[in-house]
């Protein structure tokens, strides 16, 4: 394997080309370091600054031009941008990274003096009966279709779950001509007085954004049903109806051809956890987050994290945290450089943290105790909540034993969809946020890559 593995070196590797990684790479390269930026996707930008395909940009315009400009600056600064490159493993505190070319499967090894993980987040799903039916999707998928591809996810869409993210998704759907049957919000974040909540006033721009979305929804006659939740989805080969538990306790059924359900985001922490960095439960008590200082330094010397993988705080916080981590790495690797004043960045980071805390308070997660036994929790292996509860109650009384006994979390998504639920159903301690161990390969690899490193047919 070693002789087919392409070797390369850089002062710093940045893993993830989203807002945190891009901002960090720019600061590092302008500071005179050699930087390699690795991203699994075939374009830079991450989820927020996702790139619309060239042909669609020509027709529909640039998507989030700030991202285009940021990516251009990063490329111009001399960063070695390796898109289509999956980081599937690491050792030596992150100073050695194992990669695979997404197209060919060709293996690579990158050696660095410091590494920044900016691996972002993915959506948090909570299972309910029928959630594996085709046509039941995440809000992020609906957003991607609407913004990147200009395709409505359905003609009669139900959006549900909790979180501020549901609002821009709803507006994007309206823009491509979908009809929104209902926006089903579990909590009560929107009410008179929302605009006067103290913490939010420190971020008037963010607040204005939410108000603008709500106004658009009202103009289109979209009902925002607060205190309501999805009970079950129905359909034969794809979703055709959804049961909604309403605030007054009654249940109503809506016809739909696309049901989008999401409960915020889960940080993608596999890489720092694989490298053994110290962790602590996140504010929701459902995830383990890397413990970091104000600059994103972890307990592992030379390993830094920034952006949503260090705790969900959104795009603006990711950019600021990425810059702060980059400055810390610069101080470490180029101590001779003159000191840079960072008080403005630090102030902004703290303000954005407060806004994230406010969002956590406004959109609490529901309890997993309500998940019916017959609900499939692990989509890949088809394991139900009842099977997991039973395994946990009959001696396999921790997360790892339950995984071994039921196969929950052992499928190709590696527990990214169900891990937090299996942990909540099987974990020994409520709120202790156990999680599946991170192991190499941390993302699925083509078999040919692991066997020979040869080109995948």
């Amino acid at each position: 394997m070693a002789d087919v593995m392409a070797q390369s070196e850089a002062d710093v590797a940045v893993i993830g080309g989203g807002p945190a990684g891009l901002h960090a790479a720019l600061v590092l390269a302008r500071g005179g370091l050699s930087v390699v930026l690795l991203d699994e996707s075939d374009t830079l930008g991450g989820q927020y600054y996702k790139r619309r395909a060239e042909q669609l940009t020509a027709a529909f315009g640039d998507f989030r031009p700030r991202g285009t400009e940021l990516i251009r600056q990063v490329r111009d600064s001399g960063v070695d941008c390796r898109t289509g490159t999956l980081v599937w493993g690491a050792e030596d505190g992150g100073r050695t990274l194992f990669t695979s070319d997404v197209r060919t499967g060709a293996l690579g090894r990158v050696s660095t003096r410091a590494t920044l993980a900016a691996t972002g987040a993915y959506e948090r799903s909570l299972p309910f009966p029928g959630w594996t039916l085709p046509g039941v999707v995440t809000p992020g998928f609906a957003l991607h279709l609407a913004t990147m591809d200009r395709v409505p996810v359905g003609q009669r869409v139900v959006l549900a779950g909790t979180g501020p993210f549901l609002l821009p998704v709803a507006c994007a759907l309206l823009e491509v001509g979908a009809r929104i049957e209902a926006l089903v919000e579990l909590n009560h974040p929107y009410r008179p007085g929302f605009s006067s909540i103290g913490g939010a006033l420190r971020q008037p721009a963010r607040l204005a954004e939410a108000a603008r979305y709500l106004l658009t929804l009202a103009r289109h006659g979209v009902r925002v049903e607060q205190g309501s939740r999805v009970l079950a989805a129905h359909g034969d080969t794809q979703v055709t109806a959804v049961d909604i538990a309403q605030e007054d306790g009654s249940v109503k059924q809506l016809e739909t051809d696309a049901l989008c359900v999401g409960f915020g985001f889960r940080p993608s922490t596999e890489l720092p956890r694989l490298l053994g960095c110290a962790t602590e439960p996140d504010p929701s008590g459902t995830e383990q987050l890397p413990i970091v200082d104000a600059d994103g330094a972890t307990s592992v010397d030379g390993l830094y994290v920034a952006g949503d993988c260090a705790g969900i705080a959104g795009v603006h916080a990711a950019g600021v945290r990425g810059q702060l981590a980059a400055h810390a790495i610069l101080r470490r690797l180029s101590p001779e450089r003159p000191t840079v004043r960072l008080s403005g960045l630090r102030r902004r980071a703290r303000a954005l943290d407060r806004f994230a805390e406010l969002a956590d308070r406004l959109y609490p997660l529901p309890t997993t105790a309500d998940i019916p036994d017959e609900t499939q929790v692990c989509r890949c292996e088809g394991v139900s909540a009842g099977e997991i509860r039973q395994a946990a109650a009959t001696g396999w009384n921790d997360l790892h034993g339950t995984k071994a006994a039921t196969r929950a979390g052992m499928g190709p998504c590696q527990g990214r969809e169900c891990g937090h639920i299996v942990a909540a159903l099987a974990g020994r301690n409520e709120g202790a946020a156990e999680c599946f161990a991170a192991r190499m390969p941390i993302r699925p690899l083509p078999m040919a890559a692991t066997v020979e490193g040869q080109e995948v047919p």
């Binding site: 027709a59 279709l145 794809q238 699925p444």
Partner: protein
Amino acid sequence: MSTNSLPQTVTVTIDGTPGQAWAGQSVTAALVAAGIWPLRRNPVNGQLRGPFCGMGVCLECEVTINGRPGTRSCTAHVTDGMDIRTHTEPLPTAAHG
């Protein structure tokens, strides 16, 4: 940025049937636009599955593209003459008991 007319359409073949899609669109978008939601069977319980996360995490949207099986349709982009095959036929036998 000013916008022009609609993007260039190309021909793709979905399960043997030719159709039109925009060049550069994600393959999942072409499938959804064509009204095709079930893409595969879960290998354990045989249930129909379709695209779910749209960002390469869940692997529910795998199809065969130009003869390459197990390709995530959410991260693949439409090109002219692309051959897309879904796998919704019932499983021969259940993989697990």
